[in-house]
């Protein structure tokens, strides 16, 4: 194997890798001797050093006062519950309530703005409130998909501890249970609005969430691997990412999912 400080005799100079190695290590006597007699290699080493010095000036912005408290506020809201109590089981989670409100509002808007046959013949323009309800659904679904993506990504990357036959997925299961209730509402609303691609994606997600919700809190390793394999095969995570990434820039009335 080539030594880090070996001089490239064919070229008569130190190679790039040799010079980079010298940035953090004391040169060998061979390298030192070469550097003392080779202006080109000295210049090269100096340029690398100055590059790293310039990079030292690249600092992250200072966090504002109260950063830690705000960070905790964001994180604490997203932490999975460690244990499910009777009350947490029966209480509808906050996101579920929000989802229900959004869904009811959307359905109401959709029903109110569904023109009669007579109206349709006089007013060919699409109803504005329907567009609004579509946008509300997109925003709500986007948020839902972001949280679902985080959960499924966690699951996809879970690796069982060595020799463990059962993996504790109770945290993920709690999150899946919450997401499932929302997912059903959004899917029904998307179907109601005739947004087939979004409804289909929600249905794919729902199958995974149902499976997760119904699994034992300690999942056998092969079952987890099977679930991970399906996650990977179905590209659900990628579709969710595309949906959430496309959404802010998409001005098209067509659902982002249709672009997949």
């Amino acid at each position: 194997m080539k030594n880090d400080f070996e001089i490239d005799h064919a070229a008569g100079h130190l190679g790039d890798d040799e010079i980079i190695s010298l940035l953090h290590a004391k040169p060998s006597s061979d390298a030192e001797q070469h550097l003392s007699s080779c202006p080109r290699c000295r210049t090269e080493l100096d340029t690398y050093r100055r590059t790293l010095e310039a990079l030292q000036h690249w600092t992250a912005p200072e966090c504002e006062v109260g950063y830690e408290a705000r960070l905790w506020a964001r994180i604490s809201g997203a932490l999975p519950r460690t244990k499910r109590t009777f009350w947490t089981r029966v209480a509808v989670p906050a996101f579920g309530i929000a989802a229900a409100v959004v869904a009811i509002a959307l359905v109401t808007l959709a029903i109110r703005n569904t023109p009669s046959e007579q109206q349709q013949s006089y007013d060919p323009a699409p109803p504005k409130a329907s567009d609004a309800s579509h946008r509300i659904l997109d925003v709500a679904v986007k948020d839902h998909f972001e949280r679902t993506s985080r959960l499924l990504s966690e699951l996809e990357k879970s690796t069982p501890p060595e020799r463990a036959h059962l993996i504790d997925i109770s945290g993920e299961q709690d999150a899946a249970s919450d997401l499932l209730a929302e997912n059903r509402l959004y899917r029904q609303t998307a179907e109601q609005q005739g947004d087939r691609p979004t409804a289909d994606l929600l249905e794919n997600v729902e199958q995974l969430l149902v499976e997760l919700d119904h699994s034992p809190s300690e999942m056998p390793a092969p079952q987890l691997e099977n679930l991970q394999q399906r996650l990977s095969d179905t590209d659900v995570l990628f579709k969710l990412k595309v949906f959430t990434s496309l959404h802010p820039d998409s001005n098209s009335p067509q659902s982002p999912v249709t672009q997949l």
């Binding site: 790039d16 980079i20 590059t51 310039a54 000036h57």
Partner: protein
């Protein structure tokens, strides 16, 4: 009350989720600095910080107190940052169909003598631009080596890659940065 990292971890594992708050407040700022250097912008850094602590909480049982909690946390942050950058890159390439972007010519084509920019702004801009074009692994390896002072062995373990891969990621990053920043460094 014992508020060392291992003691706080033990309290969280006993079901006292509020103890996690001390860990977040103690390490949040540094994780943000690390995430910013890896991702290059505050919004992505915020996402990485949040995701890092959420993952840490979920997998706290896997933390072994023989290593520093901060090291374990930075390892999670590095991997979150790599995931985020890869996802963004993947999406950008798929949606824009621009996989063969010539980043180096773009960097070097920037006029280093542009008078409109203050020098410090120009330095920041050029570095930002050069860093953005490293691959996620190169960028993360470089940040861990040069800003966090990790050894190649530690980078290898953090990113779950071989020693040679870690070493060459750092080398490639340094080479690319040197070439991209040459006009800037020469003008100093």
């Amino acid at each position: 009350m014992d508020t060392t990292d291992p003691a706080l971890v033990a309290r969280v594992l006993r079901g006292e989720a509020e103890a996690f708050r001390f860990l977040v407040e103690r390490h949040g700022r540094h994780v943000f600095q690390l995430a910013f250097r890896m991702t290059g912008n505050a919004q992505d850094a915020e996402d990485v910080v949040q995701e890092t602590f959420l993952r840490a909480f979920r997998h706290l049982k896997r933390y072994e107190s023989r290593s520093l909690f901060s090291t374990w946390l930075y390892r999670i942050a590095a991997n979150c940052a790599v995931d985020l950058m890869r996802t963004q890159r993947h999406f950008t390439e798929h949606s824009k169909g621009n996989p063969g972007h010539d980043w180096l010519s773009e960097v070097t084509a920037r006029d280093p003598s542009a008078d409109q920019l203050a020098f410090s702004g120009q330095v920041r801009d050029s570095i930002q631009c050069a860093m953005e074009k490293l691959t996620p692994q190169e960028r993360t390896a470089f940040v861990l080596r040069h800003y966090e002072g990790l050894t190649v062995e530690e980078i290898s373990s953090t990113l779950g890659i071989g020693l040679n891969a870690a070493k060459h990621s750092v080398f490639r990053a340094v080479r690319k940065l040197r070439r991209a920043l040459e006009p800037l460094v020469a003008s100093v």
